[in-house]
Symmetry: C2
Subunit: 248 residues, 2 copies
Amino acid sequence: MLEGDVTRFRADARRNRALVLQAARFAFEEQGLGVPLGEIARRAGVGAGTVYRHFPSKEALFRATVVERIELFTDTARDLAESPDPGPVFFRFLSSVVRLASRNKALCDALEAAGAGRFEPSPGVGQDFDDALEVLLSRAQEAGAVRQDVGIADLRALLVGCLSMERARAGTGTEAGDQGRMTALMCDALRSRQGVTKLDDLPGNRNGSQCEVCGAALATARTGRPARYCGGACRQKAHRVRGRTRQG
Amino acid sequence: MLEGDVTRFRADARRNRALVLQAARFAFEEQGLGVPLGEIARRAGVGAGTVYRHFPSKEALFRATVVERIELFTDTARDLAESPDPGPVFFRFLSSVVRLASRNKALCDALEAAGAGRFEPSPGVGQDFDDALEVLLSRAQEAGAVRQDVGIADLRALLVGCLSMERARAGTGTEAGDQGRMTALMCDALRSRQGVTKLDDLPGNRNGSQCEVCGAALATARTGRPARYCGGACRQKAHRVRGRTRQG
DNA sequence: ATAGAATCGGAACGAGCGACCCGTTTGCTG
DNA sequence: CAGCAAACGGGTCGCTCGTTCCGATTCTAT
């Protein structure tokens, strides 16, 4: 049902629903999907039962808070699509999304889950975002600012990766001015330039296993369990390390 | 105590310890830190009590299985440090670590946790790995193959990011031959080349807040709660989206 | 004002997990 | 072979968290 259709609800119900949504928004932003539902209820000043009266499950509440943020990104991307100068606009938008999402653990969780195929915030929302972003990408590619061999799936993965990187970089206790550093690095990877790796032409030895020490391709094992090392040297190295291992 | 000091243990204890370690290694590789300890015990064919007899906590068991993998990486990096041709060696080593770790959820979890500063697998292990990796990095930089403005902390974050990206890319159901694609992209970002962003010279407006729609810097709010949008247009856009939001 | 219905809120439930303990079994040693 | 100490393992406890339920409360239409 639409939120605009307000006369069907009692006034206190409307008020409490707004309180729950706001509390959930802040709690999810700070702690991600892992925040206990009881804490959201406590922050909203209501009981847990009230939360369940308005949202059928914790996941539904999470979706309700995260969908609006993604729609905001989508709308912004649509606006920017009409802009001239598509290259800088594309890079600025990407950086912006990463910067805003990295302060919002709920968005990180949602993007990560969507990336792993586990979770769709709401039918169409992720697709709409992808579509809007794809327009920005292809404009930037037409303008020659972005390499031709990346697609929207790469971009989705890059977003997830940038969030991880910024979080990892922030966790090492380096000065705060470094925020955006990894994103800038990622943008450099996207810029079109001579001499970069041809992504669509990578060597494809992915089907065979690889040595766990040196990464060399292994011949397919036909006898019993699969081989783990490419030869005597690497096998010995692995066992040398294992023998050194101390007990916890 | 050292594992080599075997006479102090009964034969069945030694056997069970090995069974537990092996079961833990596989279980953690497949499911990460989240796997229940009972399942590890079941796979090893022992009771949960036996696991606790050998390892004081689940985390200690996790460390014991993950430390040896990291030491393997460290040893490999040390070997490669003596190689001529440091540029290709550096990139091949990075790709190798990502490829191997992306199949091992335990390593992903450990790296992620270490990146967030929550977790040190064992005193010195992470440091040793960083040191060995730093040698490879500086050799590659001296050879002119890697840009000068990245450091070991960047590399640590990049590793975490690449793991996230490969996982996200793999989750979208694209063909398996795409493994390593995101890592190749990141390697391109690391290559020294003209015209890349100067990482140490990024604009530093990080202290002020930023508009949640367009990312513009916000003047510091002196009145009550902080501002969230840069002006009327962005505020209206945010509320337009919020009004459209449907109930879960 | 009042009756009736919608809503509230927190107690209670159940599932899942980590940690621990103790009766039983097993291997080592003299 | 016998005795004993060490190890085994499953049963149990406590905790957290999502969810449900129901008596108490509050709102609104008449």
